[in-house]
């Protein structure tokens, strides 16, 4: 049971941290929204960095799949998790382990991803931790929702596509415009 006991020790430490934040802050609502932003390196990451103004004032923790990245918002160093894809089943466990650690340390209120597979996994982990979730499908998916996007629809509080034709075909899929 040792492996089950440790999370709660961490929880206590985290809660104590928050209590300290509150004491030095302006009451219970002073704590900024904690947002975990997950995107694979490459296009998904660029799409996410173009959106960061929507998270101004939030406490942002970025997660990606490559080293040497500068966080586009805030000062928390980017957490690197293993990349994975649907045809590389062996790497999925590594990605989940990395994400689990990120959730344990950061404990986000909201998880946002622009893809791909690690971001989809992050939204499922978010459900287990009780965080809200937003999925923004890549602009590359102009004809249909990506596989990752389809998989996260049951657990995403908001699923966004960047193509009105795709939004028209799926109920509950939102079109907010394009990130370009």
């Amino acid at each position: 049971m040792a492996s089950w006991r440790t999370p709660f020790v961490a929880d206590v430490a985290m809660a104590a941290d928050r209590q300290a934040d509150h004491d030095g802050g302006h009451g219970l609502d002073a704590r900024p929204l904690r947002v975990l932003l997950v995107a694979s390196a490459g296009g998904h990451w660029i799409e996410l960095t173009r959106l960061v103004d929507a998270f101004a004032g939030c406490d942002c923790q970025f997660v990606s799949t490559a080293c040497g990245m500068t966080p586009p918002l805030g000062t928390r160093p980017v957490i690197v998790v293993a990349d994975t894809a649907r045809d590389a089943k062996a790497t999925i466990l590594g990605a989940i382990r990395g994400l689990w650690g990120a959730f344990r340390r950061f404990d986000p209120d909201l998880v946002v991803s622009t893809g791909a597979a690690p971001g989809a996994l992050a939204l499922y982990v978010a459900r287990l931790f009780g965080a809200r979730t937003i999925w923004i499908d890549s602009i590359a998916n102009s004809e249909r929702l990506s596989l990752s996007g389809s998989l996260v629809r049951p657990v995403a509080d908001l699923t966004v596509t960047q193509w009105p034709e795709v939004a028209a075909r799926h109920p509950r899929l939102r079109y907010l415009g394009q990130i370009l």
């Binding site: 049971m1 929880d11 390196a41 490459g42 296009g43 660029i46 929507a54 490559a66 009780g130 590359a140």
Partner: protein, 185 residues
């Protein structure tokens, strides 16, 4: 300097090979190439498998022309930096990707200013031969349009009751902070 890139996930030897043969035939030694996980050994390219993200962005800013697979990352970067870019889509029927979304990307982006689509190797070589005449288009700021950001920000800030899991966790944390212990301690 010409910068070739194929993304980090999959090899794309059809593109790398074509550019390599072109560089060798024309005696070009200024082609830098990110070639991904491949066994292909280029003869004329300054090649590496991967680069750190920020270092790669510097290369993109330095180069005169980008050549890449039809990945949105490279295309958006080219549009942000005002570089001309030649894109060749991965063909899933040849096993170069999991699905055909790069062909769709070519259709959506191939008509934009500064983006030069190469559906096959012959078109690619033709475009490379007139590299000096290709014009970039600095038509993108590094941030998404304000209305998209505003819509998204509204969802981010929307007041929402704590989820069930969160309420249970809050209860649990409250009890541990006040000194009580769980049943399994």
């Amino acid at each position: 300097m010409i910068l070739l890139s194929v993304g980090t996930q999959l090899p794309f030897d059809r593109l790398v090979g074509a550019v390599d043969r072109w560089a060798e035939a024309r005696g070009r030694d200024d082609v830098v190439a990110q070639i991904g996980p491949t066994t292909y050994r280029p003869r004329a390219l300054q090649a590496f498998a991967h680069a750190d993200h920020d270092r790669f962005r510097e290369l993109q800013a330095e180069c005169a022309l980008m050549v890449s697979h039809a990945g949105t990352g490279s295309i958006i970067a080219a549009m942000e930096l005002g570089k001309p870019i030649i894109i060749m889509p991965r063909d899933h029927r040849r096993g170069e990707h999991r699905n055909g979304h790069q062909l769709a990307t070519l259709r959506e982006f191939g008509t934009r200013q500064g983006v030069y689509p190469a559906e096959d190797e012959a078109t690619l070589v033709d475009l490379l031969d007139r590299a000096d005449s290709l014009q970039g288009c600095p038509c993108l700021t590094p941030r998404a349009p304000a209305d998209f950001v505003a819509h998204l920000a509204a969802h981010v800030r929307a007041p929402s009751p704590p989820t069930l899991v969160r309420r249970i966790r809050n209860l649990w944390q409250g009890s541990t902070i006040s000194g009580q212990v769980g049943p399994w301690n």
